[in-house]
Amino acid sequence: MLQWRDRSPQHWHEVVNHEVCVTNRDQQRFEGRVFTVDPVSASVVLVSVQENERPSVTVILGHAVTDVQILRRGTEETERQMKSVFLPDRAQILSA
C-alpha cells in the first residue's frame, strides 16, 4: 500500500474540509477538520474548534503520517468558516 506522502494530489484533496483522525508513527492520534495537505511535504493541516475555546491549528508533518481516516464529511458552511480563519484578507471574506 502507498505511503501517505507518495499519494496523489487527488487523494489528498479528497480529505480537505472533512473531519478526520490522523495517526502518526508514534501512534498519536489527532482529530480535526482538514484545511489542506501540502503537496510538497504531504503535511496535513488540521483545524479544531472547541466550544468556548480559541480555534487551534495542528500541522502533522508528512513524513510522520501513517494513516488518515475520514470521520465526518464537511459542508459548504464548514469550508467557508475555515477559509475565513486562514485567508490573508479576513475582513473581505467576512463581509462577502
Binding site: Q10, H13, D38, V57, L87
Partner: protein, 95 residues
C-alpha cells in the same frame, strides 16, 4: 526533489492539468497556514516525546527546516534556531 515533482509537470494532458490545479490549490492553502503561523507561539512535538515551544518565523520552500525564535528547550532558551522538519512530528498553535 519533492518540490520538483510537485511543481514541474512534463506533459500537458487534461488530467495532468487538473492534477496541477489541485496541487496549486493545496499549496496555496499551506502557504496561508504558514503566514498565519508567523510570530505565533508554537508547540513542537519531536521524536522521543520531546515537546518544545518557540515563536515561529518561517519555513524553507521544501519544508525541510523551520526558523524559530526563543526556542524553549530543557537546556534553556535558544534565541534563534533552525529545526529540522525530519525531527518534528507535529506542531500546533492557537489562533
Amino acid at each position: 526533489s519533492p518540490r520538483f515533482i510537485a511543481l514541474c509537470c512534463s506533459s500537458s494532458s487534461s488530467s495532468d492539468e487538473e492534477e496541477q490545479r489541485l496541487r496549486s490549490e493545496l499549496r496555496q492553502r499551506f502557504l496561508w497556514t504558514l503566514s498565519v503561523m508567523r510570530d505565533k507561539l508554537v508547540q513542537f512535538d519531536m521524536h522521543e516525546r520531546v515537546r518544545v515551544r518557540a515563536r515561529f518565523g518561517a519555513s524553507d520552500i521544501d519544508v525541510l527546516r523551520f526558523q524559530v525564535s526563543d526556542l524553549e528547550t530543557p537546556l534553556g532558551v535558544q534565541r534563534e534556531a533552525l529545526l529540522r522538519c525530519q525531527d518534528v512530528l507535529s506542531c500546533s498553535f492557537e489562533l
